[in-house]
Symmetry: C2
Subunit: 332 residues, 2 copies
């Protein structure tokens, strides 16, 4: 039997528990050209909140009654004339919040679980890592000496963004919630400074910790932090709009950055990105990232909770901030 | 004697008449290396509102007690060992709102009043024309087939932006206030469509007139029109932030674009520009613009009012929209 988390209704604001329902359905056999994958880990990401909205976006929304979309990693346990995958293969997929999936292999790729543990392939070596890599290198186009500010800096994307920026010779300031995360940024990830937005006034803290202003702002949160960052940008600054987690559960309109005219004064650029656009270069990025990891130059944390039954309370950690690094659900 | 308009106080909201005071002071003689210019025309621009604010911007603010900064064009009537200018030369300068100026010639340049009438050198062949040229070609990087939306489209900058975009094979939609201006866009400037923001619902009008969305939005106005345009951008769209006249007189915070996450969904860019950055290429731009004008491919209107005494009521036309094309004050 296959435990599946089904989208039951469209949430307004912070999703409530009855947004989803757990169903147990029989596992069907893979048809010709398909494989059956047993999921080991499921990726929980802020973007999932967006996929639940019935609106035009970069991918179609999850429909009511469908399995909740999510990245997943697991092992092929049955194969039916599949051209590329065989039993025992470790596969990263968009398999959704369920214990098993049947797939033709579209948008799936094989990884080696002996090189890195499975959860890393959902984090630093998966979408969040790719987002960080292409966001900071291709969109922000950092160069040595840049002053780089990152929000959501202890998160799955932000923590990698900052480490890559350090590798490239930038000064890196991270914004995160709580002393524990800020200590992690400085002591474990090598950031130059950290701002605790939960206990510090963000404007004052930026004055203190970015006295020369910033060349790059990598934004995962939106809202007042984006607005504050706009007041500190330097000439020709680049702002990467990667996410806006502070705004995803708004019931009314989201807050727009009222300081956006700083873009004009500073001839600066604000650019949105979606990691899917870079798929043709994922393998190059994964090689770089893997190499940095093996050299001890890049580290990542996965925060792992257990059981599809615990999806809801785990999912909420994305928005409460009660997690560290990449949030992952272990399928048991 | 020299009539001079002096900044008397810093305005809050829409400037009141006592923001400036008119002084009459003796004309002094040019010192060694200086010239005395008699102004013929003074340029009135939305940017002047920003120069009155005491805050960091792309140029220092006008100080209280100083002559109000403005572009100007006039004739050298006295010269004292100046290396480049002689009596009778026609000079474009930042001479300010006054009848005469003394200058070393810094940031001034000579033009030929026989090629084009003086007011054109403050409009299509001056800063607004340069802003349009570099904004649409260098910042927006238009290419044939692009769908280009322009706000403030009947203004000094917008009217040129749209004509250049048409020259380059784009589809051009202009937003302006009132039927008269909209007719002008279509009948005189060759725009493909026009939206009258004073009588039309902007969201509905954009649906009708840009059914395929937009590749470029050239923004002179900010506020709700920017926000609406964000809902219509296509993949890899470019938004040029040239100005935000709807927001310049706000007493509170300006309105930020709450739909800015459309940048993410559409991998789009919002970039600010200041024309001064392109000064080394002004002459190339002026040659292109002059050629297009002589070929009848580029036209411009100047709306000319008379007398420094009438500065205040003329200046207000920038914000009420009661003007057509480039607003100029004739010095009498």
């Amino acid at each position: 039997m296959n435990k599946q988390l089904i989208l039951a209704k469209r949430p307004v604001g912070l999703p409530e528990e009855d947004t989803w329902r757990l169903e147990t359905n029989p596992i069907v056999a893979p048809k010709d050209g398909e494989v059956l994958i047993k999921h080991h880990y499921i990726s929980l990401d802020p973007a999932m909140r967006g996929w639940m909205m019935d609106r035009k976006s970069y991918i179609p929304p999850v429909e009511i009654g469908e399995v909740m979309r999510a990245g997943a990693i697991g092992i092929v346990i049955k194969e039916n004339n599949h051209p590329n995958f065989k039993e025992g293969d470790c596969i990263v997929s968009w398999g959704g919040v369920q214990q098993y999936e049947i797939t033709t292999g579209e948008n799936c790729y094989k990884v080696d679980e002996n090189v890195a543990p499975m959860p890393k392939y959902l984090g630093a070596l998966g979408m969040p890592g790719m987002t960080a890599y292409f966001g900071i290198l291709e969109v922000a186009k950092i160069k040595e000496g840049d002053i780089v500010l990152i929000s959501g800096a202890a998160g799955a994307v932000g923590s990698i963004v900052g480490q890559i920026a350090k590798l490239k010779g930038c000064t890196v300031i991270g914004i995160a919630g709580g002393k524990h995360k800020c200590d992690y940024l400085i002591n474990d990830l090598g950031f130059d400074a950290a701002i605790d937005y939960k206990s510090e006034d963000i404007y004052k803290a930026l004055d203190e910790k970015c006295p020369k202003g910033i060349d790059v702002y990598f934004d995962n949160v939106g809202g007042e932090i984006l607005n504050a960052a706009l007041t500190k940008i330097r000439l020709n600054a680049r702002i990467v709009i990667c996410g806006a987690i502070s705004q995803y559960n708004n019931k009314e309109n989201i807050i727009g950055p009222s300081n956006y005219l700083s873009l004009l004064v500073n001839r600066a650029t604000m650019q949105g990105m979606v990691v899917l656009d870079y798929s043709k270069d994922y393998s190059k990025a994964a090689m770089d990232m893997g190499m940095w990891m093996m050299q001890g130059k890049l580290t990542s944390k996965e925060d792992i909770y257990e059981g599809i039954e615990n999806f809801y309370e785990t999912f909420l950690r994305l928005f409460s901030g009660e997690k560290m690094g990449k949030l992952v659900l272990k399928v048991i």
